[in-house]
């Protein structure tokens, strides 16, 4: 391993990290703007032009807030909870292919932090660990409402992970690989997986909402029943970490959805661009295409939040266990039959 390779990867990792943070930051802004616009309001517009400095102001405010500790015997766990949530939210971005390759300084820079064979399993693993952040935080708060919120979040995420995994299996049967890089390469042009696996996409989308703990599945933090859910006792930047992790997760989920089902960095006519305009231009356009897709998904997630009311808990479990899981198994069977018939 030469030093140039290490530098290259470091640069990619730092850039990906920075972009994830910025996207998460501006997702909070976008959330407020989208919410406002969907409700015929204007939204934040005082901090900077169009309120663009609002996330900075929010961050500054959270930093200056009092660091409050509840009367808990688990101060260590209380601190480690938001840290885990944040770490897992940022870790998933390592395997996402942000673009194909750029040709700079005589090297082919692959726009992905690591291309491991089991990227998809890695993502599932890391996302599962994310439950611990919420669970530990809620438990260490020494508060009934926090614990209730954490228990709800944990059971919800565990249940929906099954349906999510099963919906993935149908996709994997088709792609035959777990590497996200290869999955995006297979979808060149308009060969997007969503056209071959619409049901799988739908199940994955619903499960992504549930995994993100966002409306209509935000039972973990429903204000009307649980005050704030698992982060009731949190204040200052620890609370900020939880909120920030949620938005970072949203960004990553949108990225995964775009890579798995909407062709990742592929756009129609990419091959033509590579032949005519050069590798770099074509791939920069690819990165832009991926980000447009991601922003589209983030907008969709917000749009749904301000449209659909929250599920009741039994409805949530009903949907997860009795509808989505059988549906994804049926999807696997149909995919299997199709593969047998057409290959």
């Amino acid at each position: 391993m030469d030093s140039a390779f290490i530098i290259e990867k470091s640069v990619v990792i730092v850039v990906v990290f920075a972009i994830t943070m910025i996207m998460a930051m501006y997702s909070t802004y976008a959330e407020r703007k989208v919410a406002a616009f969907l409700q015929d309001r204007i939204g934040p517009n005082r901090a900077g032009k169009f309120g663009l400095l609002q996330p900075l102001a929010d961050g500054l405010k959270l930093f200056s807030k009092e660091e409050f500790f509840p009367n808990t015997p688990n101060r260590f766990l209380f601190i480690i909870g938001p840290a885990i949530a944040m770490t897992t939210a940022l870790m998933t971005s390592a395997v996402i292919p942000w673009g194909d390759r750029l040709h700079v300084f005589g090297r082919d820079v692959i726009l992905q932090a690591t291309d491991i064979d089991v990227s998809l399993l890695y993502i599932f693993g890391v996302v599962s660990v994310g439950v611990y952040g919420i669970m530990i935080g809620g438990w260490a708060s020494n508060n009934k409402f926090s614990l209730m919120g954490a228990v709800r979040a944990a059971s919800q995420m565990v249940s929906y992970e099954i349906a999510m995994g099963l919906s993935m299996i149908a996709l994997l049967m088709m792609t035959g690989t777990l590497s996200l890089k290869e999955i995006s390469m297979q979808q060149s042009g308009l060969n997007w997986n969503v056209f071959y696996q619409p049901l799988s996409f739908l199940i994955f989308l619903i499960c992504a909402f549930a995994e993100l703990n966002r409306t209509p599945f935000d039972l973990a933090e429903c204000e009307s029943e649980l005050i704030g859910g698992y982060h009731t006792e949190y204040s200052s930047m620890k609370m900020g970490f939880y909120l920030f992790a949620e938005y970072a997760n949203m960004f990553i989920s949108a990225a995964i959805l775009s890579v798995l089902f909407f062709g990742g960095y592929n756009y129609p006519g990419m091959q033509w661009m590579i032949d005519n305009a050069g590798v770099n231009t074509a791939n920069v356009l690819g990165i832009i295409a991926l980000f447009i897709k991601i922003c589209g998904f983030i907008f969709f997630i917000m749009w749904v939040r301000w449209t659909i009311p929250r599920f009741r808990y039994d409805q949530l479990m009903n949907l997860g266990w009795r509808i989505l899981i059988p549906l994804s198994i049926i999807n696997i069977i149909i995919t299997g039959i199709c593969i047998l018939a057409f290959k």
Partner: protein, 183 residues
Amino acid sequence: MSTAIQSISLSGKKKEVSKKEMTFLERLYLIAIIKGLIITIKHLFRKKITVQYPEQVRQFSPVYRGRHMLKRDEQGRENCTACGLCALSCPAEAITMKAAERKKGEEHLYREEKYAEIYEINMLRCIFCGLCEEACPKDAIYLTISKELVPANYDREDFIFGKDKLVMPLEMAIKNAQLKNAN
């Protein structure tokens, strides 16, 4: 008889409630969700109704009772004669005043021989009922002509408005006089 009454819908919006089983498509909820999404996306492009307060001011109704104003007449003289009826009528006891005699050479400032040397309204006590306006025999105090709200402040002391804030600006009195002459 009772069924006949129940079937009447005065508003025309009455819907019969039925307990029929939902069809498969309805139970999927997907169509309902898409309908909801279309409704919300329509609102995204609708005109925003926010009034950006300090820069934009909402048009007040002609009878809106806002901040008080002590009126001047067409020649720019203060109407108030410090009779104290407004203070007496005030249910919140927000008004205090101190009367003084008009001296020679002050005829252009005060209409009557007596005037309010100090006139204070505590805006935290005031309930904006308008009884002072009704009680005033000299047409001096009005809540409806300033078309202003009492602004927020950090200090309780700053909510006691003296004559400096209450008396109608001279320019406004001159303008009123010009308008009246024009008519």
